[in-house]
């Protein structure tokens, strides 16, 4: 009897010790991802999450960041809605206790920033483009914002001799501010705005708007909406027989499902992620992504892959100083130890004090259903 008790005691002690050592070894770094997982922009969420997943797999395979296993917790802002984004933020910070969040879309990102500042949660955006995302405490953008990419596209069309412009944009933060920036820039160049139409986000019927555009007969059409909205606009405008060039700031990989051939000639500027780059890190990412998902990664996937590695570096920096990487304010301070981070685009990206950074920007044109570079930005 005594022996049996003794064996049980040893067994219990063994279990306790092993669980303690497991707990000591299994440090976790949970971070949030508030992305568009459903709705008209669900394609963005899918590709961004893929980028993060590959980075997380690689980081954990290499033993994590200073022993911290990376775990991404995905939440859905339903393609740009602020209430789901705020609910996701509350869940991530009060239940999952994340110190950092990767966000996307302007309105959801802006809607969580007051809470992020209060709770000292660092937020990274690699997808939204509104110029309103500049100079916000605790927010860092690795996506080129609309104040740079919209004028780049418009100048190209201006130089081609186009002078009148019609705009059509979604009733969301980014499209509204992009429309504002674009119309001001076009007027500054000496151009004329013949019509400005705001549409409901997620709408699919743009025939009335296209009728107005047809009647106004503009030289070019600027549509800074996001997701499939752009596709529906293009389809409706072309169905009306309007042949003027259409440009925007976004191209989602599933747009051609909606437009078919109608997207031919659509122009948009964005970061240039070169899948044929010779950079060894880029090569490894491209090959892993292609192997896992059977497609080349786009710049959204690249941005969120890169952001996950920026988080890894920040965790390392905080740990090296003897700090706590689960504290968002310490992660934020660590950025300014050295604002340069290795970039998946090759070389380095450097954060500026206003929370932005610079990346190579190019102008794409859809040719035979594929984006083809027509102009590179000179810096």
């Amino acid at each position: 009897m005594k022996n049996r008790k003794f064996i049980c005691l040893i067994g219990l002690a063994f279990m306790l010790l092993t669980s303690m050592s497991y707990a000591a070894d299994s440090k976790e770094f949970k971070f949030g991802e508030i992305l568009a997982m459903t709705g008209s922009g669900s394609w963005y969420g899918m590709t961004m999450e893929r980028g993060v997943n590959i980075a997380v797999d690689e980081i954990n395979k290499d033993g994590g960041s200073d022993g911290y296993k990376f775990i991404g917790v995905v939440e859905d802002h339903k393609s740009g809605l602020t209430t789901p984004a705020q609910n996701a933020f509350r869940k991530l910070t009060s239940i999952d206790n994340v110190p950092a969040i990767l966000s996307s879309f302007s309105a959801p990102t802006l809607s969580i920033m007051a809470m992020a500042k209060q709770k000292k949660i660092i937020v990274f955006n690699g997808g939204a483009t509104s110029p309103k995302l500049i100079n916000i405490p605790y927010l860092y953008n690795t996506r080129m914002l609309g104040n740079e990419i919209a004028p780049f596209t418009l100048k190209y069309l201006w130089d081609m001799g186009y002078r009148t412009m019609a705009t059509i944009y979604a009733n969301q933060t980014a499209p509204i501010s992009l429309n504002d920036a674009a119309t001001k820039y076009w007027k500054k160049l000496g151009g004329k705005i013949v019509s400005e139409q705001m549409h409901e986000t997620g709408a699919t019927d743009f025939t009335s708007e296209a009728s107005i555009i047809k009647a106004k007969n503009p030289d070019i059409i600027f549509c800074p909406s996001t997701g499939l909205d752009v596709g529906y606009v293009i389809k409706a405008v072309r169905k009306m027989g309007v042949k003027a060039p259409i440009c925007g700031t976004e191209h989602s990989g599933d747009m051609e499902k909606v437009t078919g051939d109608a997207s031919e000639g659509y122009l948009f500027a964005s970061e240039f992620f070169d899948v044929n780059s010779d950079d060894p890190w880029t090569k490894r990412f491209v090959s892993t992504f292609k192997k896992k998902y059977d497609v080349d990664p786009d710049f959204y996937a690249a941005n969120y892959y890169e952001l996950t590695y920026i988080l890894k570096d920040l965790v390392s920096r905080v740990v090296a100083k003897g700090g706590n990487p689960l504290d968002g304010s310490q992660l934020e301070k660590a950025i300014w130890d050295d604002p340069k981070f290795k970039s998946i685009y090759g070389g380095y990206i450097k954060f500026k004090k206003d929370g932005t950074c610079e990346k190579p920007v190019v102008l794409f044109e859809i040719q035979k259903g594929t984006p083809v570079i027509v102009k590179k930005q000179e810096r």
């Binding site: 669900s42 394609w43 705001m198 699919t204 009335s208 009647a215 909606v258």
Partner: protein
């Protein structure tokens, strides 16, 4: 000149949209006028028809057989909702509110099921030749033309059926006075089942036409439902011709209003028209004043 061209273009657009709205109106109106059931689940039947057609076309079945299967399924779904949900409730003298809540539950559950099975992505229906037709300042497509022709053919056939066939006359009898209709030997239960079948078939056709023009997503049913009942209340409850007129007015108003207001206010205008009609003529444009 620019304003005239725009007016003509928007008017034609409004008539195309109005034709679809008129079809949606009669599809819901025939059910409501006859059974006085606020069939909220009509939106689910609309979505179901669209997704079944899409799924079958996706499985490489040609468009016409897919359409026929989709319409049959929509008709059966409408009848099943009446038979298994509304009828037992009516037999237990359930309140209008209970029936409405049940219908809403079916709508939400059905929509969620479609979302679960097919995912949130938009799905275009391919296989119909689409070409642009320009007549002076007016542009439309072969799909628009097909929509107008089919919608009005179906509406004309429905009115002919109601006016000239025995079943149609029985529907009208139950619709105008269910108690008297029972006295003369009409089985109102069978008539209810018949109108749910007809209404669901019509909404299936409307759904097919709408999906030809723009891709479907799991939420399309709600807008279709809104249009359906606004059209009926606008035209006048109890008068199916009113639903047709209501649909046309709504389509044309929504289209023309963007000459003076931003397009995002289209839906506000729809409700404003409904509000005005209810305020000035509560029985609807073609409805009869109750004594």
């Amino acid at each position: 000149m620019e304003a005239v061209s725009l007016f003509l273009q928007l008017l034609v657009r409004g008539l195309i949209t109005g034709s679809l709205y008129a079809l949606l109106g009669v599809s819901w109106g025939i059910i409501y006028n006859t059974t006085r059931t606020f069939h909220f689940a009509h939106g689910f039947v609309y979505t179901l028809a669209s997704y079944l057609i899409l799924a079958l076309v996706g499985l490489s079945l040609p468009l016409i057989p897919s359409l026929l299967v989709g319409l049959t399924a929509a008709t059966m779904a409408g009848c099943a909702i009446e038979y298994f949900a509304y009828r037992p409730m009516r037999e237990q003298n359930a309140s209008q509110l209970s029936v409405f809540l049940t219908a809403m539950g079916i709508m939400i559950a059905g929509q969620s099921l479609i979302l679960l099975i097919f995912g949130p992505d938009s799905r275009p229906l391919e296989g119909f030749p689409e070409r642009v037709i320009s007549l002076g300042p007016v542009t439309f497509t072969t799909i628009d033309l097909f929509t107008v022709v089919l919608a009005w053919t179906v509406i004309a056939f429905l009115f002919h059926f109601l006016a000239r066939t025995k079943a149609g006359m029985m529907i009208r009898a139950v619709s105008s006075n269910p108690e008297k209709a029972t006295f003369i030997g009409i089985d109102s239960k069978k008539i209810y089942l018949l109108v749910f079948g007809i209404g669901s078939l019509l909404v299936g056709i409307a759904s097919f036409l709408a999906t030809l023009d723009r891709p479907a997503n799991p939420n399309i049913g709600l807008h279709a439902l809104l249009i359906s009942f606004i059209t009926v209340f606008l035209g006048g409850v109890g008068n199916l011709k009113g639903a047709v007129i209501g649909g046309l007015i709504l389509g044309v108003a929504e289209s023309l209003v963007i000459m003076v207001l931003p397009t995002e206010y289209k839906m506000i205008v729809t409700f404003f028209i409904l509000f005005l009609v209810i305020l000035i003529k509560p029985e609807g444009l073609m409805g009869k004043k109750s004594v």
